[in-house]
């Protein structure tokens, strides 16, 4: 974390008790993002092989074996614990959205979309996949239902994320403070369109539009992962270039204009 503030303001020098890096909160939130996604990736792929998704038309025997695997239970427990980091990583984005010259409706939509999306798209699947190994006696038909429920909740939870990324994309495009580059707003539009592209998982049980299909999973995932990287880099730039005086935890200055700005931004 070499992002020590380059230009300390006069007020910062006066309050010597304060830590020098006043963006520390943002940097902590920022670095939880790669941590969270790495845990995510490790648990999903090599630990449990939950991802890439298994086929919706797998034979029942394979589904039962998969649902009984102990690694799957361990994976679900780890993810349910790490799940708490998702709000922190969203906080990192929201702090930058707050600086934009757009209606607060955008960031509230993002916030609620992230909350509802994470519950349906993350917590529900964890409970579904964890249950099979938790108790051995479930019948194959129950396990198949949990398997469907888990994957559909994970891949087919469309609306919340769609609105969330739409709000993010529109906020970037409409923003006049140029907090994030405008092309990122357009890129985000594709990201929310991928959520729409995934709608056929509710219909198709095999082929390119099933939940493990070329179009609905692999293509959407390629767009998503590259987008996530790029957003992350842009957020890094935005935190770095944020002026010290504009920080929410900047001390109030006796200057009337500064007071007005602070009260407006904290509203």
């Amino acid at each position: 974390m070499a992002e020590a503030p380059k230009a300390l303001t006069a007020s910062a020098e006066q309050t010597t008790s304060r830590p020098k890096n006043r963006k520390l909160d943002q940097w902590i939130a920022f670095w939880t993002v790669p941590f969270f996604f790495n845990v995510f990736g490790l648990v999903f792929v090599p630990l449990s092989w939950m991802m890439p998704p298994r086929s919706p038309s797998s034979p029942t025997r394979h589904i039962v074996d998969f649902m009984h695997s102990h690694n799957l239970l361990v994976a679900c427990v780890i993810l349910t614990l790490a799940y708490g980091l998702a709000p922190v990583s969203n906080a990192c984005y929201l702090m930058q959205v707050k600086r934009m010259s757009v209606s607060p409706a955008f960031r509230y939509s993002m916030m609620i979309g992230a909350i509802t999306g994470a519950i349906v798209g993350m917590l529900f699947p964890m409970f579904c996949f964890g249950l099979g190994a938790f108790r051995a006696g479930y019948s194959p038909s129950v396990l198949t239902m949990l398997y469907d429920f888990g994957y559909l909740a994970f891949i087919g939870s469309l609306g919340c994320f769609c609105v969330m990324w739409m709000a993010f994309g529109l906020a970037i495009i409409l923003d006049e403070n140029k907090i994030l580059p405008k092309w990122l707003g357009y890129y985000t539009i594709w990201q929310y369109v991928t959520e729409l592209m995934a709608a056929p998982v509710w219909i198709a049980k095999s082929g390119p539009f099933a939940w493990n299909g070329l179009m609905t999973f692999w293509f959407a995932m390629t767009l998503y992962v590259s987008w996530q990287f790029i957003v992350y880099l842009c957020i890094y730039g935005a935190i770095k270039s944020q002026p010290e005086a504009e920080l929410d935890n900047a001390p109030l200055e006796p200057h009337p204009a500064a007071l007005e700005t602070t009260s407006r931004t904290t509203a």
Partner: protein, 203 residues
């Protein structure tokens, strides 16, 4: 397409137009980023469609025969006409003729708005005849691709309303914004041409 239409637009101050057109990308560069990326995304869909079409040629051909070619063709004409008026409107706006530009953009908007309506006349009888995305892979591609395109059209109509608002505002309108909207609308048009050829016409 704007350039082609401009050539036919009369009453445009040649010197002014030449000055505006020389060495400049019309509209905002971020919109061009969007256009190129969108073509790439649709391109992946087109390639995927062609691949699976090659695998089930008979199924795709027999399913294709059940589409409503008439409405598809009318929609193509509607969208092309709309694009022509957008091009003419942009040319008028560049020449400083805001009243003409407004009239042309209103016409373009009216033609554009007919597209989703006609689409409903196409989709609803098909769905009630039992041709849904679950019928087979062809219809899945058909509904997904035309559906995503329809979302683009609806977004384009919203953008066009903003362009009209920009032209109506007092003072000189922001030409770059008009050009950005026109660029987007032409992209929607080009995408439809490819979709129409792939889904309705290709044998």
């Amino acid at each position: 397409m704007t350039d082609v239409a401009e050539g036919s637009a009369t009453g445009v101050d040649q010197s002014q137009r030449a000055a505006g057109a020389r060495g400049h990308v019309p509209g905002e560069s971020s919109m061009w980023f969007f256009v190129i990326g969108d073509f790439l995304i649709f391109g992946v869909y087109f390639v995927g469609y062609m691949y699976f079409r090659g695998q089930n040629h008979e199924l795709f051909l027999s399913s294709q025969a059940r589409l409503n070619l008439d409405i598809g063709a009318i929609n193509t004409v509607v969208l092309l006409t709309s694009s022509l008026f957008v091009a003419l409107g942009t040319a008028a706006a560049r020449a400083g003729n805001t009243a003409d530009a407004l009239r042309r953009f209103w016409t373009a908007l009216a033609f554009g708005a007919a597209f989703p309506l006609l689409k409903m006349f196409e989709w609803i009888p098909e769905i009630s005849a039992g041709l849904t995305p679950g019928t087979n892979l062809f219809f899945m591609y058909y509904y997904v691709m035309t559906g995503i395109h329809l979302c683009h059209v609806l977004l384009g109509l919203v953008i066009m309303c903003f362009v009209i608002r920009n032209l109506k505002a007092p003072g000189t309108p922001k030409i770059s914004f008009v050009e950005t909207g026109a660029t987007y609308w032409h992209m929607v048009d080009v995408l439809w041409l490819v979709l129409f050829a792939l889904l309705y016409l290709m044998r």
